[in-house]
């Protein structure tokens, strides 16, 4: 005959508690997480890993928007946190895109991150490399950051302080 332990329900409650903690650790903490820091002027914006998990509208890929004045440099600091028991090796790439065409590469480096360690990468986006701004048009660029099968998209919108403050290039008349 099987006898019920005296504190059976207490043991079951403790088992549920241990299960909860285990799920938080295995499913919530362990894994590969990336955090992006973008600095424009004196203001730093942090894109936490959970930002990319949101889906508004449902099913849509998340994109982050940053505004910067034309001429300002945009500084990126990208951290990959390896919360696993093994070394994580991956190629991290950042590139600049406009209208689905690659403009140029910003960063590309093979990374090998030890268990419970992190890698920090830095690069800068400068409008000096972008040529002349489109007056009255779109000066939006997409910074794509990829590692493994993960792709992050950050849209940088360069705006003008005012149309008349832009130095306009007047063509020199050719002598006849």
């Amino acid at each position: 005959m099987i006898t019920k332990p005296k504190n059976l329900y207490l043991y079951l409650a403790i088992a549920c508690f241990i299960g909860l903690i285990a799920i938080f650790i295995v499913d919530g903490y362990l894994g590969i997480y990336d955090t992006t820091y973008v600095t424009v002027g004196e203001q730093e914006q942090v894109i936490e890993p959970d930002y990319w998990l949101q889906q508004y509208p449902p099913g849509a890929e998340m994109t982050y928007y940053i505004g910067a004045q034309w001429g300002q440099k945009v500084f990126f600091r990208y951290e990959i946190d390896n919360r696993r028991f093994s070394t994580y090796s991956t190629l991290v790439q950042a590139s600049l895109w406009q209208e689905d065409e690659k403009v140029f590469d910003l960063f590309s480096e093979e990374q090998s991150i030890g268990p419970f360690d992190e890698a920090i990468m830095k690069w800068t986006l400068s409008t000096e490399d972008l040529g002349q701004p489109v007056v009255g048009g779109s000066n939006q660029y997409t910074v794509k950051i990829t590692y493994g099968e993960v792709e992050r998209r950050i849209i940088v919108d360069f705006y003008y302080p005012g149309e008349y403050s832009i130095e306009k290039v007047v063509p020199v008349p050719t002598p006849e």
Binding site: Y9, C16, I21, G28, D50
Partner: protein, 57 residues
């Protein structure tokens, strides 16, 4: 009486610990993970209630 105070203290610590973990990591849980957490939470509170009922509370 002292035993019950200790039990109460332990339960409060457990619940606050789970609350802290939830606030830190619930965003990173997968959908099945969230569901299992919910079931375990209901089970834990249910079993605790049953235990206290059995000991005469």
């Amino acid at each position: 009486m002292r035993t019950y105070i200790l039990y109460g203290f332990g339960i409060l610590l457990c619940i606050s610990g789970i609350g802290y973990l939830a606030s830190e990591y619930v965003n990173y849980l997968s959908e099945p993970g969230k569901l299992v957490c919910l079931i375990l939470m209901v089970g834990m509170l249910g079993f605790l209630g049953k235990y206290f009922e059995k000991i005469g509370w």
